[in-house]
Symmetry: C2
Subunit: 357 residues, 2 copies
């Protein structure tokens, strides 16, 4: 007998590369091209490091309070975790115990099936239609839970909140998770539905629109009951997940609504600019409401373009997966970074096109 027989075998999620060289144009992990609110800097630079010797507030009250206020909820309706991945991992563990398959789209955030596998939760992927739109009817059948990213990744496409409401209403026996990691870039949030449906959990993150991927803060909003169950499981896992600097920096960010609007508006404007430029170069680009575009060229395989970009130290994301293997996901950087990327494509696509024929 060897201990290795009892190990939980998993196929881990593959995150985008994190090249350490400063020269690269990094458009592969949907990070924000602008720094966090200057208030975050002030908080760190004035941080009373002596408090670090003590455990942080296990209830993270300052941060759940700030988030509750911003979203018009009570503190007991907010749960905070180490990025939205931590929040989603806890939610899968807490809510998907029926033994029945949970449902999510075939093309979506590729961590959902990883969590399901980790916890041995059965799942059935529901195909998006040919235009990558969610097929509402697929979520009206029996299930053990539902997870929908809205706007979706990597397609960037938004499903109408009215359609999601129909799904939530039709499933009182299941928790429906709406993953709104990208909602701040022009999407419509399901948060207003929380007061109506106690089986709805809405997840958001500081990693994209608050430029704080490095600080690891995500959160969930839902009915008090739902949040209490999630808290119970969290307190059975790790009493203190949020460190003192993350809590303080998180509060500073939430309190700076003006800066938040400024940077998200800039990203949205650059996204529309990028979309138009790519279309002129022969790309089909989905209607993205996120901080990335999802683009396929009319004649050159995405993999070829992806490799040409990479050779130029421009990193975008590409998946060799059915249905999307001709698309690239390009995060929205600064205007200058997008211009450089577009100029490079302009200079190179002709040659790649000729190689094709």
């Amino acid at each position: 007998m060897n201990w290795e027989n009892n190990v939980r075998r998993v196929v881990p999620y593959q995150a985008g590369e994190q090249p350490q060289s400063g020269k690269v144009i990094k458009l592969n992990t949907n990070e924000c091209p602008y720094p966090p609110s200057p208030r975050v800097e002030a908080v760190l630079h004035q941080f009373d490091y002596d408090v670090l010797r003590k455990y942080p507030d296990p209830d993270v009250s300052a941060l759940t309070g700030a988030l509750a206020k911003r979203h018009g909820l009570s503190r007991e309706q907010v749960f905070v975790g180490v990025g939205s991945d931590d929040v989603l991992a806890m939610a899968f563990l807490t809510f998907f115990n029926s033994g029945k398959p949970i449902l999510f789209p075939d093309i979506t955030y590729s961590f959902y099936d990883v969590w399901a596998d980790l916890y041995r939760i059965p799942y059935k992927c529901q195909p998006l239609d040919k235009d990558f739109l969610l097929v509402k009817e697929d979520y009206l059948k029996e299930n053990g839970g539902i997870v929908i990213a809205n706007p979706n990744a990597p397609t960037g496409i938004m499903t109408d909140v009215s359609d999601l409401e129909e799904i939530i209403r039709a499933n009182p026996g299941s928790v429906v998770i709406i993953d709104e990691a990208y909602v701040d870039f022009g999407g419509e949030s399901c948060v207003p539905l929380i007061q109506k449906y106690d089986n709805l959990l809405v997840v958001q993150t500081f990693s994209k629109s608050r430029a704080m991927a490095g600080m690891r803060i995500g959160y969930a909003m839902g009915s008090r009951r739902l949040i209490r169950y999630l808290q119970d499981v969290k307190f059975s896992f790790n009493s203190y997940t949020m460190n003192a600097t993350a809590i303080a920096a998180g509060v500073a960010s939430v309190e700076d609504e003006e800066y938040f609007r400024e940077i998200t508006d800039k990203v949205i404007a650059t996204r529309e600019y990028t979309k138009e430029a790519l279309q002129k170069l022969g790309f089909t680009v989905t209607d993205s409401r996120t901080n990335f575009v999802f683009a396929a060229h009319r004649s050159i395989p995405a993999k070829k373009i992806f490799e040409a970009l990479r050779a130029q130290e421009i990193y975008v994301r590409y998946w060799e997966k059915p249905r999307i293997d001709n698309y690239m996901r390009i995060s929205i950087g600064t205007r200058r970074e997008m211009d450089e990327t577009i100029r490079f494509l302009e200079s190179r696509l002709g040659e790649l096109e000729r190689e094709q024929s």
Copy 2:
């Protein structure tokens, strides 16, 4: 059908209180009475907050590298998490999947049974002997895994490494976790055994001896194989658990060995001083190799003393549990805090003793 039927029901771990008032003497959660290394302050006050917009290094290489160097291991033998609770939670999930009961002492860190319950891992508690010593033979029978805190909490008592080695050697079919949260206060570490036994996982923390409970850093050391399995599960849970400030502050702390020795030596000296003073007041005090003492009074019930201390805003830890309900766990604070606590007991014990008779 209601979604609540599918919720994972748990009884969460109860951490010690975290009173927010500054006046209290807080000796209830084994925090360090001294601040972290001044290098930690420097790192935060000079932190380049712009890096926060990017995801942190998922491999936490800087910190695993620093820890590996300090412990004479390779980077691939070190795993870092959000406090040792996060590390232990991941280890339970990764290694204890045999379906056979895992073993740990009846009196020990009260999170072990919480994790087992969370993941539906069967377990059997093995009674410590009447002096709270580990009975080695209890761990030589069939099992699905073993967890031993050494030194143990809340007793503070150390088991000889030679006894632990016998347990590790006798169980090649199980992962043996040695939880060394308190080892830096005069205990003997099992780290040297890692090169000999690939089924040994040693867990340590920054929360006690590095005065960084508020930064949430813990780590595990073991064979490359063991660590790789743990990494795989971690990457199936959350790609980025350590935020950028925790990584930088962690490295700064590890590199300041001198300060580390200074504060742990001070805590040890204060512990011995406290132990003697308590003995003079009629307490039995275990032979603690930790940053707390575990003490029972010869005639006054612990609960009475606990309540008297609490009324005075001196917080210690008390459990109304079989076998230990006459003991208090008192964390070692500054010399001044311990003197104040001792003076208060001196002034009060006589009266409490009279109430008894």
